[in-house]
Symmetry: none
Subunit: 134 residues, 4 copies
C-alpha cells in the first residue's frame, strides 16, 4: 500500500490520504483486519506531520472504515457503513455537482460512463456491484 501526496494542489493532505486508503481497500491492496502503518511512521515516510495522518485515520474511524485499538488502526468493515443516514444524499449531491461541472465543459455522459468502467476495472469490481454487495 503506497501513498502519494501531492503538495501543489488545494486538496488537503488528509483528504488525499483518506481517498487513497479507501481506494486501496476497494481494490484489494489492503485487506480487512490489516493494520495500517503507525501514525508516526507513515507521517515520516510521507514527509508530513503526524497530526495530518492522525486526522486522516480518525476520519476513517468516524466513517466506520477503520477501527482504532490500542495497538494501532486496522481496517474494518462496520455493518453501519450501509446505513449511513445523510451520507447517501450527500454523495448524490456531490455526484450531481461533478456531473454538472463536467457537462458544462463539454464532457458527455458517455465519457462519464467510460470513466466509470475504467474505475470499475481498476478496482476489480464488476460494474453492477459495489464493494459491499460483493
Amino acid at each position: 500500500m503506497i501513498f502519494e501526496i501531492e503538495t501543489d494542489t488545494t486538496i488537503p493532505i488528509y483528504t488525499q490520504l483518506t481517498q487513497q486508503i479507501k481506494q486501496a481497500i476497494l481494490n484489494g491492496q489492503a485487506n480487512i483486519g490489516e493494520t495500517l502503518p503507525s501514525v508516526r511512521s507513515l507521517a515520516s515516510d510521507l514527509g508530513v506531520n503526524m497530526h495530518t495522518v492522525n486526522k486522516a485515520y480518525n476520519i476513517l474511524v468516524d466513517e466506520g472504515i477503520l477501527r482504532k485499538s490500542q495497538q494501532g488502526y486496522n481496517i474494518q468493515f462496520n455493518e453501519t457503513l450501509r446505513e449511513a443516514p445523510n451520507f447517501r444524499t450527500e454523495v448524490q449531491e456531490q455526484f450531481k455537482s461533478v456531473l454538472i461541472d463536467g457537462l458544462i465543459h463539454g464532457i458527455t455522459f458517455t465519457q462519464f460512463q467510460e470513466w466509470s468502467q475504467e474505475i470499475a476495472k481498476e478496482l476489480n469490481l464488476s460494474e453492477n456491484e459495489s464493494f459491499n454487495s460483493n
Copy 2:
C-alpha cells in the same frame, strides 16, 4: 433564474452560486446571451456580500462561461470551454473521488447510473449528450 443560498453549510457561497448558475444554463433556465443580474442587486437579493457574488461571476468568466461587458455579465459560449487544459483531468479525478466514496459505503454502480439518468432528465439532456455537443 432563482438562486437559493444555504448559509448553514460549509460549502462556500460562491460555489453554491457557480453551481446553480451552471445548472440553470444546462437546463435552459438561462439562455445564451442573457445578462445576469448585477452583482449589487443579486447580492442584496440573496443577502450576501457583494464580493461573494463578484467572486462567483469572475470564476465563471475564468471558466469561459460568462463574459464581462460594460452592461454586466452575460452568458456565452467560449471555444476554450472544450479545451480547458487541466479541467478535464480535474473533473475526472473528482468523479473518481465521488465514486470511491460512494462505493465504499455500499452505493452501487447501478445506483450511480440511475442518478445519472435522473440528472439527465432534470437537465433535459439526452443521455448521450453534453451541453456543448448539443
Copy 3:
C-alpha cells in the same frame, strides 16, 4: 455561558468543554440557534490553545449538537440525535460502569437517585423527561 477549565485533572480539556456546553444547552443557558464564541476568542478567554477548543466544537458537530457554518458554530438540534445507533448502548455501558464503581464503594442506589434528582433540578427538567422529549 461561562466555562471553567480544571487543569489538575486527567479529563482532557476538550472533554470538559463538550460537557459544559452540553450542560449549558440542557439547562437553557444556551439556546438553539445561538452562536458560540469563536474558536480563537474562547481559547484566549480560557487560556488554552485554539486547537483544543476547535476539537471540542468539532466533536459536538459530529454528535449533531452544533452546526458549523462559515460564520462560526451555532447550536442546533438535529433530528438524527435521537437515532444515534450505537450511542444508546454506549451510554448504557458507561452508566453501568459508573454504577458498579459507586456500588462497590458503598454508594447506594438511593444515593444515585438523589443525585439524579439534583441533576434534574439543576437542568430544570422534570424527572421523567429528557431534553428532547420536552
Copy 4:
C-alpha cells in the same frame, strides 16, 4: 470468575479488568477472602501483558478492594472503602457526565431508572442497597 477482554476497543485493558473484577465481587461470583488468579497465569490466560494484569490488581489494592499477601491478591473489605476521600465526588461527577451525555441525546430519566433496575437485578442487589450496606 471468567474475564473477557476486548482488544479492539479503546478502553484500556486494565480498566476492563478492574471493572469485571468489581462486577464479579458485586454479584457474588467472587467471594471475600478468595484469592485471585496469579498475575502470570491470568496474563497468559487472557493473552495480555503481565504488567497489564499487575496494574489492574494494584489499582484495586489502592481502592481497598484487594489485599496483596505473599500468597497473591485476595478480595477483602476495607473500611476505607466507604471513606474514600475524593472518590465520592469523583463518582458523582462521572455519574452526572453520563446522565448529561444521555439526556442530550434523548435518553430519558425513566430509561436510566430502568437500566438501574436491570443492573440491580443482574447484581442480585435490592434496589436500596449498595454492596457494602449489604
